[in-house]
């Protein structure tokens, strides 16, 4: 497997989180090269590179940056999404603890390109220890006089969340940063930028911003030399569950899923057989072992399998896994995390969990499978954000692909 390290290049160095080590290995040394170009030239390079958002949605970064209204007189903001709460996902924490200066450099470059002079990093409340490392790096960069955009001061503020999964949704994140409950906003009819207190704002994931320095310095073609046509570059894919060596390992898009699991994860734990893989965080459709054999780690391949690449955080399940319990576990998660704003989601997540509880208590009947599927349809496409549709995908994936296991728990 070809070595592909763009974001994790400095991860293994001792003391890689310090300014001294990061600088000795290239951090902040080429900023002036980017400042010599115009902001619109930089946005064009990002667009050409095909960089896609690495927080789960996979939207084109260049397209988003172009929505930032260069001639608008209002102040502009960058919000970096480090809420990372999707089960199976733990990659952004690697960046902020192992190479926070890469993120800071990406923020400086992004702010120059979009005309922002203040950036916020919204970090999940549970990452307290990780936040301290990140803050120390920001303080170090500030003391070294690095926090400026071509001479104009740049403010970077870490904003701590407080335990709400939904705040990883970009508009809920901004609501939260405005001092409100994390309720996602209604989406506009046409594509436009996000708004923070009514000001044009860009929201990007930590890993997306951390990919920016490489692209702007080495060029779009260098980034496209990794990955596939529609999924250029690399991703910090992750493995958890029943593998020998769980962890976060960067690889280029298009890598075969099984080759990745074998190469980095050392295969399935205790010599067991594979049963299923949830490919990109809990909210993507589960793949059977057979599907996993065909799967490649890119957007196209996952779409052809009616699943999604999501965050690239794979949850691997071996032959002994009880799929009914696995679905129950996820339904409890969604029930707990629904923000409660839309009725189909608030009520649907609870009802689905309750229905499955009844099955596990031995009170289920075969009609319950159809009831759950009907519930999934009721939740799909009826809400403000994609939380409820994701729950529908999860329910359908488990019920349709592992139906016999569910039927075995039902009375006729």
């Amino acid at each position: 497997m070809r070595d592909a390290r763009i974001v994790s290049r400095r991860f293994e160095l001792p003391q890689s989180h310090t300014l001294e080590v990061a600088r000795a290995h290239g951090a902040y040394t080429r900023l002036s090269e980017a400042f010599d170009k115009t902001p619109s030239e930089l946005i064009e390079i990002i667009d050409q590179s095909g960089l896609r958002g690495k927080g789960g949605g996979g939207a084109g970064a260049g397209e988003k940056w172009k929505l930032m209204l260069p001639h608008d007189p209002r102040p502009k903001y960058l919000a970096v999404n480090c809420d990372e709460s999707e089960p199976g996902t733990f990659k952004d924490r690697q960046i902020i603890t192992k190479d926070p200066h890469l993120l800071i450099e990406g923020i400086i470059l992004t702010c120059y390109a979009i005309g922002a002079r203040a950036a916020y990093i919204y970090i999940r409340g549970e990452y307290r220890a990780h936040q301290q490392i990140l803050q120390a790096a920001i303080d170090e960069a500030e003391a070294a006089g690095l926090l400026h955009v071509k001479g104009a001061p740049l403010l970077i503020t870490v904003h701590r969340g407080a335990g709400a999964y939904i705040c990883g949704e970009k508009s809920a994140l901004l609501e939260s940063m405005e001092g409100k409950r994390g309720h996602p906003r209604l989406k506009p009819k046409q594509k436009e930028c996000e708004w923070y207190f009514g000001n044009p704002t860009l929201v990007n994931n930590v890993e997306t911003i951390a990919s920016v320095p490489f692209i702007l310095y080495e060029g779009a073609a260098a980034y496209r030399s990794f990955g596939t046509e529609k999924s250029p570059g690399t991703l910090l894919f992750a493995l958890s569950g029943h593998v020998q060596r769980p962890g976060v390992y960067e690889a280029e898009f298009g890598t075969s899923m099984m080759a990745y699991i074998e190469h980095f994860g050392g295969g399935i734990r205790k010599g067991k057989k594979l049963k299923a893989v949830i490919p990109g965080g809990a909210s993507t459709a589960v793949l059977t072992a057979q599907e996993a054999l065909e799967a490649c780690l890119d957007y196209e391949s996952m779409q052809s399998l009616y699943s999604a690449l999501g965050t690239g955080g794979m949850i691997v399940m071996d032959e002994d896994t009880d799929m009914v319990l696995a679905l129950k576990n996820l339904l409890e998660f969604y029930r707990h995390e629904s923000c409660g704003q839309c009725t189909p989601c608030r009520e649907g997540t609870g009802l689905a969990d309750t229905l499955l509880s009844r099955v596990l208590e031995g009170h289920g009947n075969t009609g319950d499978i159809d009831k759950l599927l009907e519930l999934a349809s009721t939740m799909d496409g009826q809400t403000i954000c994609v939380f409820a549709p994701a729950v529908a995908i999860v329910i359908r994936g488990f019920l349709l692909k592992f139906r016999s296991e569910f039927e075995a728990r039902m009375h006729a």
Binding site: S85, G161, K180, M317
Partner: protein
Amino acid sequence: MFTFTPQNLQKIEALKSRYPSPNALALPLLWMVQEQEGTISLEAMEAAAPFCDLPPIELYRIATFYTMFKLAPTGRHHIQLCKTLSCALCGKAEILAHLQERLGIGVGEMTPDGRFSLEQVECLGSCGTAPVMQINDVNFENLTPKKIDEILKALS
């Protein structure tokens, strides 16, 4: 009567200049209250509200939405065990049973001496080192019953 410490008042002033509106301070203020007092009381929310230019009820709405804000006291060592899928696949049930046995309390309970409280939480973002728990702000990863014994022994 709740008042912010002089140190926190300074912090608030510094933070104000970093945001376009004082409303943005709502979450930071609640964190400061919790770090200062351990829990967030109605009285503290009333005292904090003017600093973010919001009515107290708004702070109450926020404090009851975000699960990490504590409205009721917890033990000196607040144990939060991750219960989501990756941890569940890697032996969370065994860890929970061991914790309950060692502490003599169930989920959602506190030991009579106030030393420990136990809670199950959703994904802590530590799936590669499952099973995992957090005690106050510190992560403990790759848990085994033996490791739990060592961790608990080291806590006063």
